[in-house]
Point group: C2
Chain length 325, copies 2
């Protein structure tokens, strides 16, 4: 990690520690401080700072907007964990377990509002476009989450439906984090649009990589248990491809595992992964990830700033692309 990025991360960390500090009632704001304190990659605010830096802007001017993106991201985690009835988040109990359902709903709502409040000091002439981007992105993320939930009830989800779902649920937030940084840094519309597309491609690669690591990750480095998606029949890229390309016998076995209750977890993971292996899905998936990765680099190289300014973003893309966790 370059020195510059470490400085950016420190600025973000300090700004996030101040969110909701000393706000009353504590019953509303403590869960907000709690979820933000659990850490995570803090990738979204980092992207906002890197975007501003790409266009030669002092990153201090965009720290608050960057924090807005992280607050929004954690709002979605708080509500998604509740909707998915999750137990743990980053090794700690989720808000609706540590407190209760009502707290997770209301503190989540307050976080969404707090995200908007973090744009308060955006220059007045920039505010309309920033708020519009942000709101449209936020609605897209809701749409993505809804599609994700809808897919649970379906067995005929297509590859393109899946890609659209992860675009909405994951990629637009990364892309918007970049674009808001670009807009605040006075980038041209063309450059801001290219950076947005870079973000969409990186976001798609990022989520596909997540799906892949869940099945093929190294348990030692991955940080969470391998096979979680397989156990809950999550409609990932791998499962959708498998359902489509299986021969009769593979399909029969796959459907047996999807409908089976009371199975041995390791046995199910092994059996499903075995079908994925037979269908060569690991390298099919890696090829698609690579396609988006190269597309993202194309967007980046078309942006009209000196190449040396792009180094941090290129390194970041590589890290996301070749990460093992």
């Amino acid at each position: 990690m370059s020195n510059k990025v470490l400085v950016f991360e420190q600025k973000i960390k300090e700004a996030i520690e101040k969110v909701s500090q000393n706000e009353q009632p504590a019953t509303l704001f403590e869960p907000i401080s709690y979820i933000l304190s659990l850490g995570g990659k803090r990738l979204r605010p980092l992207l906002t700072l890197m975007a501003a830096d790409l266009f030669g802007r002092d990153v201090d001017a965009v720290v608050e907007s960057a924090v807005a993106m992280e607050i929004f991201h954690n709002f979605t985690l708080m509500h998604d964990d509740l909707m998915d009835n999750a137990d743990m988040r980053r090794g700690n109990p989720v808000v609706h377990k540590k407190w209760n359902h009502r707290t997770a709903i209301l503190s989540g709502d307050a976080m969404l509002i707090e995200a908007y409040r973090y744009f308060e000091n955006v220059p007045a002439e920039k505010l309309p476009i920033v708020i519009r981007f942000f709101s449209n992105m936020a609605m897209d993320v809701c749409r993505g989450q809804q599609y994700d939930m809808d897919f649970e009830q379906r067995t005929n989800v297509t590859e393109s439906e899946y890609l659209e779902m992860i675009r909405l649920k994951t990629a637009v937030l990364l892309a918007c984090s970049l674009k808001i940084g670009a807009v605040l840094a006075e980038a041209t519309n063309a450059d801001a649009a290219l950076l947005y597309e870079y973000g969409i491609n990186i976001g798609l690669a990022f989520q596909l990589k997540d799906d892949l690591l869940d099945v093929y990750g190294d348990p030692k480095t991955f940080g969470k248990k391998i096979g979680g998606d397989i156990l809950c029949n999550k409609k990932t890229y791998l499962l959708i491809k498998a359902l489509k390309h299986s021969n009769k016998q593979q399909l029969k076995e796959l459907e047996m595992w999807l409908s089976k209750t009371g199975f041995d977890p390791e046995e199910k993971i092994k059996a499903v992964r075995n079908i994925y292996d037979e269908l060569n899905l690991k390298s099919i998936s890696e090829n698609l990830i690579e396609k988006y990765y190269f597309a993202s680099l194309d967007c980046l190289s078309a942006i009209n700033v000196p190449d040396d300014r792009k180094e941090e973003l290129i390194t970041l893309s590589e890290n996301l692309m070749y990460r093992e966790k």
Copy 2:
């Protein structure tokens, strides 16, 4: 109801019917259309239009912002119904019963975002102040809901804590609906502030009247069952006053009813109301309502526009003040 107000209500109705129309996925947006279609007083958007009209502005210019207030109000209803585990809303099943919990959470989130999107066409120079007012109001409403939930666990809630809770949970939304109309209609800061204070006073009177009608309303005109607050031990103004001013014997009886499970509903309502009667709480409450009502009229009369422009707001205040439902 004056002709003018009927025209305003028609404009609001037509604009609300267009919210989320044809948006995809339907699983996300149908619950939004559903809750908005249940009607209700639509008091908040009406206040925004009346505020614009008070300062001589064409109301069409503020209809979208007015709709934002109604969307926000219904977002709070969707999430509050879930947090309160309510069954019915305006004679119809609530969203988390008609659909499920996840739908009520996510469609509610989408409504909050949609409310912000309805400010998209606010003139750029007005947007910063409108968004700031709106976000601060929205956070206040969350605070009010949190206090309301916190009060359930307490028996020592004071009168001033209660009044602060209803100010946050109910009054600021009415006041903000008026103030945004005033700001968009180029009212002076002083006049906009007076109209805000008018709204706070009307809001407090409105909620105290609600509490009173729940106990003393006429079942024929009230529209819902009398005594609901008593049955669930809700910390209303009446109960807080009763807990404070009861003599030893009254307090003992009140506490018996508050802790009793498996009671006859009619018997509990009658017994608690009997204590309220002994303590003269109906007229004490009416006096306080009147105090806020007169304070609201003082604010209105101090606003620097011709008196005849104020007629609709005065009639509205009277209607809210002397309503029986």
